[in-house]
């Protein structure tokens, strides 16, 4: 079975979807990604869907769920490089991916994540967490 590779860059994970997603591939990706987030303690996830030309409601919901799962595991998710046609389809399907951050390309996505992760509030929370564990 095809598996989507998950690459680690510092404290971020990069998922680049280069093939048309089958339902089972998508489910496997969701599994793999949540495992990798826990293993690596990643703080950010980039999902690059620039090669994705066709989405259906299932894939749309899967992207949304993956983002929600990542957030529960304390990793910000940014979906990058969505094609205009895909965006129109998702909106028409009523899937606006509420709560998922988006960026035009991987570069902008990384910068967005950096900004979010470096925010003073984020650091404040981290020190608070550390104090709790001590």
């Amino acid at each position: 079975m095809d598996r989507i590779p998950i690459l680690q860059i510092g404290d971020m994970l990069l998922v680049s979807i280069q093939v048309d997603l089958q339902d089972h591939t998508a489910l496997a990706l969701q599994d793999d990604l949540s495992n990798r987030i826990v293993e690596t303690g990643a703080k950010g996830v980039l999902i690059d869907i620039s090669a994705l030309e066709i989405v259906d409601s299932f894939i749309g919901r899967m992207i949304s769920t993956t983002a929600a799962v990542s957030r529960v595991l304390d990793a910000e998710t940014v979906v990058v490089g969505m094609q205009p046609a895909v965006a129109i389809t998702l909106v028409e399907l009523g899937l606006t991916l509420t709560g998922v951050r988006t960026a035009l390309d991987v570069d902008r996505g990384i910068r967005l994540l950096r900004r979010t992760l470096d925010e003073p509030i984020g650091r404040g929370d981290a020190t608070f967490d550390e104090r709790l564990t001590e």
């Binding site: 979906v79 990058v80 969505m82 094609q83 205009p84 046609a85 895909v86 965006a87 129109i88 998702l90 909106v91 028409e92 606006t96 991916l97 951050r101 988006t102 960026a103 035009l104 390309d105 902008r108 996505g109």
Partner: protein, 278 residues
């Protein structure tokens, strides 16, 4: 109805060709004065007249093969008139005026027996006139469809205001077909230019109802999925009141009264400041 009575009108037309054509041309000339030259008109009318005689009063009606030539001629005429901007009346009169011409002739002669032939002729002319109008209307519809398409293409300019800021000035009415084109053009421009800020200016939009608002919302949501923020600007006081009265929720979409306000906000958001040199 015997074939002899049906062919009566062809005899009538044959015998009085010159007089009828002269009257007919005079009647049509009055309605299309100045739009066509007398030469063109006389040629058209002479051709129709010959076409009528070719059919030889056949019983099969104007759809029969005997009238193929005449139908082609009338279709051509209908198309030309539609393109030249003639009104339906001006177009129809060029055929129907023949009836008037024949009636004038019969009045002159006070020949009651010929009225029967006139009745048959009248039926044929009505059919021919309707046939020509059908072509005329068909051509008009094609012209309108072409114009609508051209308008659709013209009406979606996406302009770059600054590095990373594009604007989409909307003019006219927003319907589903236009919104689709507008949405695609904007999203494609965002991707092509790598812009993170888009300004949708609705100064030129005549009215905003729930449907237009829905279309705007969809466009903004689609842009967000790409990773770009939209600002809606150019909301006139009247439109603001309508929007509130209709209970339309723009949600968390930033709205500004003028394009310059929106531009300033977009520049601020992309980390730029405008300062005066003085």
């Amino acid at each position: 109805m015997s074939s002899s009575s049906a062919s009566d009108w062809t005899t009538l037309l044959r015998e009085n060709q010159d007089q009828l054509i002269a009257t007919w041309t005079r009647l049509v000339e009055a309605s299309v004065a100045g739009r066509m030259t007398a030469g063109e008109l006389a040629r058209d009318i002479r051709e129709i007249y010959q076409g009528l005689l070719v059919g030889d009063g056949t019983e099969a009606g104007i759809r029969s093969s005997a009238y193929d030539g005449l139908r082609g001629l009338l279709a051509d005429l209908g198309r030309t008139r539609a393109r030249q901007g003639f009104s339906p009346t001006e177009t129809a009169v060029s055929v129907f005026a023949l009836k008037q011409a024949v009636l004038e002739l019969l009045d002159e002669r006070a020949d009651l027996s010929a009225y029967r032939a006139f009745g048959n002729l009248s039926r044929v002319i009505d059919d021919l006139g309707l046939y020509m109008l059908e072509t005329y209307a068909g051509t008009r519809e094609t012209v309108i469809a072409q114009q609508a398409e051209t308008l659709l293409e013209l009406s979606t300019p996406v302009v770059k205001l600054w590095d990373g800021i594009v604007a989409l000035p909307l003019v006219g009415t927003l319907d589903s077909a236009r919104t689709q084109v507008v949405m695609e053009a904007l999203l494609q421009a965002l991707v092509d230019t790598g812009s993170e800020h888009a300004i949708i200016d609705i100064t030129g939009v005549a009215a905003v109802d729930t449907q237009v608002a829905q279309h705007l919302l969809k466009t903004v949501q689609a842009a967000r999925l790409l990773g770009a923020e939209c600002i809606v600007s150019g909301i006139r006081p009247q439109i603001a009141q309508t929007v509130v009265a209709l209970g339309i929720e723009f949600g968390d979409i930033t709205t500004k009264a003028s394009l310059s306000d929106a531009m300033l906000l977009a520049m601020r958001n992309s980390g730029l400041d405008v300062v005066s040199r003085a």
